[in-house]
């Protein structure tokens, strides 16, 4: 089921994750968030950008603990926890945020 971004049709898998990582642009995240009735704030972008940076280095999304630590450093210690990330991404930071960031879905017993 492809998504439309700026008049361009981008392929996704059954669950809405981008089929080609190279198709990602910030507008992709915005469009995906809109379909979830979510408006992306600066804090959402901090998470999305960190996920993309980490992925570029390691070819995998970071462990939840690495993400919370990084967000804690950037946004303040009170926000460096899973609870805050779930407030930002109610479907789960590992999955929903990865989707917006154009990364594949984490698989396994997670």
């Amino acid at each position: 089921m492809p998504i439309e971004v700026h008049g361009k049709s981008l392929d996704t898998d059954e669950e809405g994750y981008l089929a080609n990582l190279s198709d990602w642009a910030p507008e992709v995240a915005t469009v995906m968030a809109e379909s979830d009735e979510c408006v992306l704030s600066e804090n959402h972008w901090e998470v999305i950008n960190f996920l993309r940076e980490y992925y570029q280095e390691y070819q995998i999304a970071p462990a939840v603990r690495i993400l919370t630590k990084a967000i804690g450093r950037k946004l303040g210690k009170d926000k460096g926890n899973s609870k805050y990330l779930y407030e930002l991404f109610p479907q789960g930071p590992a999955k929903q945020a990865c989707k917006y960031a154009g990364l594949p879905k984490p698989t396994g017993c997670v």
Partner: protein, 500 residues
Amino acid sequence: MPKPEDIDIPKLGDFLVTPAVSPDSMAHSQPYVANADHQNALGFPGELVDNWHDVAIAKLGELTSKSRGLQVYLDSCVKCGACTDKCHYFLGTGDPKNMPVARQDLLRKVYRRYFTLPGKYFPKLVGAEDLTEEVLDEWYKYYHQCSQCRRCSVYCPYGIDTSEVSMAAREIMASVGKGQKYCNEIINKVHTIGNNLGLPEPALADTLQGLEEDVLEDDGVAVKFPLDVKGADVLLVTPSADFFAEPHIDGLIGYAKVFHQAGISWTVSSYASEAANFGLFIGSYDNMQKMALRIREAALELGVKRIVFGECGHAWRVGYSFLDTLAGPFDFLDGDYPVPQHIVEVTHELIQQKRIKLDPEANNDKRVTFHDSCNVARASRMGTESGGQLVLPREVIKACCNHFFDMPENTIGEATFCCGGGGGLLTDDLVELRIKGALPRMQALKELDDQHQITHMAAICAICKSQFSKVLPYYGFQMDQVISVHQLVGDALVMSSGEI
């Protein structure tokens, strides 16, 4: 797939009341089918083959001739009904095809038609049916509504292992080109990268180094999280969720603290960085063996003396019951230790020998219960005594916590209810099934909570931990009420600051 907000969440209601039947209420539930790449990589055809009917029947014949057990399970059901109200998916959905007897009859009726004399000549008299596309579709839906937890088998007077029937059905489906995306994608990642997550070595190294920094900062102790260290005594094989998810990672920290405090040298392997073996779920011996062999190769390469499994339910089933058959002999390991050993056995023994000291007051803020994981409780053993797999985890928890309470007896031990996400069903496309299937465990937790104000439910399985994190909030609990057994251990462990 329905969105979680559209799902009719069952009411907790009265404890374990058998629901009214609701025919076909879960007939819409099925997981995504594996794509051609994921199928081919595991040796299965990429899409439904043209002669799928004949291939399926031939495969069923092959499986029953190879496994006398499977044939007995298919032949011996007398439809007494003892299993009908024992399945968490039936109790949570009311769909009569989720009564184990009915679900297994989807395969049995085909077996009767093609492999029994009365079924061949008088099919209607014995309820035998042709394998049609509709039947294959029903297989795909309902054999992915069985978590292979084997609770029904406990109550079966003939001892029929219904999970073997589900596994056979899934293997037949994969063999004709209709495998399940979630499991097959994951198995492929283990074959290529070494773990379910697809976590490559540099990311694993970064994660473990981060944990060393965290523990040093939190506890002031230089606990190591070694990776690929040759000559270590212990190879720790643990679910990759332990490197990634919460509350799993707190369990990993607990294992590391135990090894540190006991002075046991250990290592993780980046090559065999997964304990889980999804080959079991899809019934594929070949894939199960290929993954198990990674553990053997890593143990040889690193020159370890022992193999210890982390908290992972079906990994322990494969490890305890099949590892030697799949990848043995392990005569190069230290014969003084079981092969493999469970981390709970390691910790339990260290407590008995007083080689580690626990301060249960550290967990005085918690009122804890324990969820027996199905594959540990019903398909394995810990320690040397019968039933040790039920006793040892509780003894470890009690050594770490002053406030421990068990849920009702018919929901724990060998009668434990599945978390609702086992057997290769822990995927978002089955979220409705997972939420509904958790109902009996949630009811049991609520019963106990009403009496004892439970704050935490400890688990020893990565799937159980992820599943409960997801479903607890739907039933009025908090997602962080599920914790790792070894988080309790890690928090109670009295640490000395010396480096090992």
